[in-house]
């Protein structure tokens, strides 16, 4: 791994120590009640090395990622601040990065973001002033050179651990490891992948990643999550951009009686964690359990990832 000044990120410390890392996602509330955030965070903080504060994922409006980070850092939790390029231009984003670091945020996840058309307000103006790689490079430049894009100086340290997303499950397959190389060059130190349901595809991706030596330059956390029901799986598969669920898994959930589908979804998730954990170059898992946070504890336990500390 490249030698960087310590970001004081707990997530970075865990990854550097070689322990299998766990991050998870906090479902952003549709409320102005801080307790909604605290309650969800309390469940996750017990075993997570980082809690993702998502930035209007799926282009649906929720409490903003910046404010969730503010609430999390107040109580000493470790947020992963997601910034998408969809809603803000370069001026807003650079300011937010400084503000987040000032609040004690140490992990940044730079993503392009789903298009506005994926959400419930498709008439909104898509910004995309940056793409994810330009955002990464800008954050890297702000941290390492201590300048804004304009060249104007930043007058303090900016300790940040920089992350990016990767989706090994969509076309062009051969391009995906090369894109990873580009993201690493642009500043990515850790990766959280899209939901992995196709372990074989992921294995092939990791083979290419290892051939290129990229697994030694970046920490890869595999995205996983429980399917709640056949209906939910079908929705994710057809309506959420970038999620690929193989037919075998769809069939397996479909064949299960309705009342046991959630349990089956959890079982599949546990199996996938156990499989990807064995793949060389995998540094951890990123568990996304949309509206099923209570399940994350069980998943971690059943996948044999406890005790954590």
């Amino acid at each position: 791994m490249k030698k960087n000044k310590s970001s004081m990120s707990q997530l970075e410390q865990v990854l550097k120590s070689g322990r299998f890392a766990i991050t998870s996602e906090l479902n952003p509330p549709d409320s102005a009640d801080p307790e909604d955030v605290n309650r969800a965070a309390m469940i996750l903080a017990g075993f997570c090395d980082g809690i993702n504060a998502v930035d209007a994922s799926g282009a649906n409006c929720h409490m903003s990622s910046m404010s969730i980070c503010a609430l999390l850092t107040r109580v000493g939790y470790e947020p992963v601040y997601q910034i998408s390029c969809r809603d803000r231009n370069r001026i807003a984003i650079q300011g937010d990065i400084l503000g987040a670091a000032a609040m004690g945020v140490r992990n940044l996840l730079c993503i392009t973001g789903d298009d506005v058309s994926a959400g419930d307000q498709p008439g909104a103006k898509p910004v995309f002033d940056f793409d994810s790689i330009q955002l990464l490079r800008t954050a890297q430049m702000m941290r390492d050179e201590r300048v804004f894009l304009s060249g104007r100086k930043i007058t303090s340290e900016l300790p940040l651990f920089l992350g990016a997303a990767a989706n090994p499950f969509v076309l062009p397959y051969d391009w995906r490891p090369k894109r990873l190389a580009k993201k690493i060059a642009a500043g990515a130190q850790f990766i959280q992948t899209q939901y992995c349901f196709d372990v074989e595809r992921f294995r092939e991706y990791m083979r290419q990643v290892r051939d290129m030596g990229l697994h030694e330059q970046v920490y890869i956390l595999v995205g996983v999550g429980p399917l709640r029901s056949y209906r939910a799986a079908n929705f994710m598969r057809t309506k959420v951009p970038g999620i690929v669920i193989p037919d075998e898994i769809m069939d397996r959930v479909k064949k299960t009686p309705k009342e046991r589908q959630q349990a089956e979804g959890k079982k599949i998730c546990v199996e996938i964690i156990q499989q990807v954990r064995e793949i060389e170059g995998v540094a951890g898992v990123h568990i996304m359990a949309y509206r099923q946070e209570e399940l994350v504890t069980e998943i971690v336990q059943e996948a044999g990832l406890l005790p954590r500390r």
Partner: protein, 161 residues
């Protein structure tokens, strides 16, 4: 690829006329019309004024609905179509194929392209290129060393397969 050859030829033809092709000149206005029509018909050019066509497999990346200049997003559909416009093939799927078919500049797809300078919209990309106006960032965005290190990755892993 023929388009690479045309790019080189155009550059060679225009270079001697650099001092006539000044920004905001009548000559630039003429160039803008030529580019709008020529590149418009062939590439569906969006007149960003900072053309990187030869680095993107001779496919215009500004036609990506998210204006991505460094690669495809994670929303590409299973049939290779766009997340935002399901009826069209992902621009970056075409760019990747175009780059593989471009022996001379194809590996420039690995360059880290800087953010778009929106002030150059609707100006002449050739004039901007000749006068270095399209690269006037005040910070070092990407070093030549980094470009040189990234480029071989593009073809490297393909040969293994």
């Amino acid at each position: 690829m023929v388009l690479e050859w045309i790019y080189d030829l155009t550059y060679a033809l225009l270079k001697p006329f650099k001092k006539f092709l000044k920004p905001n000149s009548f000559a630039e206005k003429a160039m803008i019309s030529i580019e709008k029509v020529g590149k418009g018909v062939v590439f569906d050019c969006q007149m960003c004024g900072q053309c990187i066509l030869h680095s993107t497999g001779m496919v215009c990346s500004m036609n990506c609905p998210k204006n991505l200049r460094n690669g495809p997003c994670g929303g590409v559909r299973l049939n290779g179509h766009c997340e935002v416009k399901p009826e069209q093939t992902c621009v970056w799927v075409k760019i990747y194929e175009g780059s593989l078919a471009s022996p001379k500049y194809g590996s420039e797809i690995m360059w880290i392209q800087p953010p778009v300078d929106r002030t150059l919209q609707d100006s002449s990309s050739w004039v901007n290129l000749l006068h270095g106006i399209d690269q006037k960032m005040k910070t070092v965005w990407q070093t030549q060393d980094e470009k040189d290190a990234l480029e071989p990755i593009f073809r490297g892993s393909n040969e293994k397969e």
